[in-house]
């Protein structure tokens, strides 16, 4: 791991990813979150630059002020001091109708178009590893205007030419793929966050494109840790670093037990 702040012992990878996740989110927008890091990133955003971030959980929790990290996206923390505690029919209908700005998910495998797999590793009929399946991921990726994906372990194993199972839609087979399938207009993957950098998608080709590198990480590392070719623009930014305050919030307020962030 060449990420500068980790080498220097300032923070660990998951803390940094939570910070990067938070930095992608905007104030006064809505975010539909999946389990783990997406929740932590949204909590951090809400406690720093985006106090008006509207957090929505699929099971019915809407607009909470999260007091601690929820283990489940359906537990009572997900509507603690919330705006509404309704139902999955409500949150999914609102999503389908266009009320979600950001969807925020983790994934096990991804291809160059941001299609993700959380169903099986190996053959579908008799899988090597059976993963949980879509859950709400396919829905979030179908409905949100902008999808953010976190993959904490970018490698040739996770950045693949073809996902073993296309659980959740990215740009499917490329430009126009989503529209052709009948998915909502102006939706799709927006950012991918890994242990190396932040990626977006090329407007024309819809292929994964590097946007910024973490301090200390090289472009070669990005290329080496992928089975598919990643578009590298002329100008690559360096990602920001968390402040002491960001880290304090993560460690003391959001996940003091180190459940996701570690100790």
């Amino acid at each position: 791991m060449s990420l500068k702040g980790i080498v220097e012992g300032k923070y660990n990878l998951r803390e940094y990813l939570a910070f990067i996740g938070a930095s992608v989110l905007e104030n006064e927008k809505s975010v539909f979150v999946g389990t783990g890091l997406p929740i932590i990133a949204s909590m951090l955003a809400q406690k720093t630059h985006a106090p008006g971030l509207l957090i929505i959980f699929e099971a019915g929790g809407i607009g909470p002020l999260l007091p601690e990290l929820p283990i489940s996206v359906g537990e009572s923390r997900t509507y603690y001091k919330g705006i509404s505690a309704s139902s999955m029919h409500d949150t999914m209908s609102l999503s389908q109708a266009g009320y979600i700005d950001y969807g925020f998910l983790g994934a096990a495998q991804m291809d160059v178009y941001g299609n993700i797999n959380t169903t099986v590793i190996g053959d579908y009929a008799l899988p090597k590893v059976r993963l949980p399946g879509s859950g709400g991921a396919n829905d979030v990726a179908s409905f949100a205007r902008r999808l953010i994906i976190i993959i904490a372990n970018q490698s040739k194993r996770t950045f693949v030419n073809k996902v073993d199972f296309l659980t959740t839609p990215g740009y499917l087979d490329g430009p126009g793929g989503r529209e052709m399938a009948g998915l909502a207009r102006d939706t799709g993957p927006y950012r991918v966050i890994t242990q190396l950098g932040i990626y977006g998608f090329d407007e024309k080709t819809k292929r994964l494109k590097l946007i910024s590198l973490y301090p200390g990480v090289s472009i070669d590392e990005v290329k080496e840790n992928s089975n598919f070719g990643i578009t590298i623009p002329h100008k690559v930014e360096t990602s920001p670093e968390p402040t002491e305050r960001d880290l304090k919030i993560l460690r003391e307020e959001i996940d003091p037990a180190g459940i996701v962030l570690g100790k």
Partner: protein, 338 residues
């Protein structure tokens, strides 16, 4: 309507809407009757081998564990389960061999706690079959179609993906917009079991939390078992009828089981028993461990109160109450280092 493609998943729990109406007419009484009974009676009366079952709540939140343990105790077999964000409920029923078919939206995982060793082992060894894939909204809308008495609900999810291809949905050309639209088939479970905060003897139930999918699920299930933290007077229901989440005429059995969703969370009452869940996640790594767990917590007792004693009794329950109200710190005994 022109059908553009058909999912290859097995169509579970679908009935012709007229057949479904006829079933309701013949089997669902509109009479206010006392439906209280024991968990043992409810399971033996309403759950049969090979039934398509669905659990309320959300995986390990507001789940009717009293019914789940009773299904295991009565050794029901070949059940098909709705994997509609099914977590602890599904894991234990698959792991113990009661359920051997699943339609999976979210299954075989424990959310932040990781994957489920027991149910994963059953799927990866072919002892449990995933008969169809679907998404969470998809499952939700399968119930919605059934509760509305229509054959399907059109939606814009699962399009273009393997989740859709392995589902029981059909993609058609929408006659209004001309765009492809996903038709999600209705699903009527043979039996559903839902845990609630309070309920009267007739089955009028109040839920003090998100409903998740239970508004729709309660109304589409052919048979519905309600387990409740407490039984209250009908007068209390009538005083605030807007709080009734589930009306009596869709309910078949009412079972009073305080703390009846332990080790899962009952919102506003008690939090997860992480120590107990960690014990299950640890033991269920091997088939022998599953047997050890069952012998210790399920087969050695015949009622929920004795089970709660085994789990730590009043002391543990008081702690779980404090955890729910953030008066005790988070613990994660199942957490792997690294």
């Amino acid at each position: 309507m022109e059908v553009l493609s058909e999912g290859k998943g097995e169509l579970i729990g679908w009935h012709d809407p007229d057949e479904a109406r006829e079933w309701v007419f013949k089997n669902k009484s509109r009479a206010l009757k006392n439906k209280t009974m024991s968990a043992k009676e409810a399971v033996s009366k309403f759950i049969n081998d090979e039934d398509f079952i669905a659990s309320g709540g959300f995986g390990h939140v507001r789940v009717s564990m009293a019914i789940i343990y009773e299904i295991i105790r009565q050794k029901k077999r070949n059940l098909i389960m709705a994997g509609k964000t099914a977590v602890h409920d599904l894991d234990i029923l698959v792991g113990t061999g009661c359920v051997n078919k699943v339609e999976a939206a979210y299954s075989f995982g424990h959310e932040l706690r990781g994957l489920s060793p027991a149910s994963r082992r059953m799927v990866e060894s072919g002892q449990c079959k995933v008969v169809a894939e679907i998404s969470n909204a998809g499952y939700q809308w399968r119930w919605l179609a059934a509760m509305m008495g229509v054959p399907f609900i059109p939606s814009r999810t699962m399009l273009g993906t393997d989740t859709g291809k392995y589902s029981s949905c059909k993609v058609a050309k929408d006659p209004f917009s001309g765009k492809p639209i996903n038709l999600i088939p209705a699903a009527y479970p043979d039996v559903a079991f839902i845990h609630v905060h309070r309920c009267d003897i007739y089955g009028n139930a109040q839920i003090d939390s998100i409903l998740v999918e239970d508004f729709e699920l309660s109304r589409c299930a052919r048979r519905l078992i309600i387990t409740t933290e407490e039984i209250v007077d009908n007068e209390l229901i009538r005083r605030e009828p807007w709080r009734t989440a589930i009306p009596f005429f869709v309910v078949d059995a009412v079972v009073e089981v305080p703390y009846g969703c332990h080790p899962c969370e009952m919102p506003g009452m008690y939090y997860y028993d992480e120590e107990h869940i960690a014990e299950w996640l640890g033991l269920s790594r091997t088939p022998e461990g599953v047997d050890e767990y069952l012998n210790k917590y399920v087969f050695s007792v015949d009622n929920f109160e004795d089970y709660l004693e085994l789990c730590g009794g009043v002391k543990k329950l008081n702690y779980l109450k404090k955890r729910e109200f953030l008066r005790e710190p988070m613990i994660a005994p199942w957490r792997k280092e690294g």
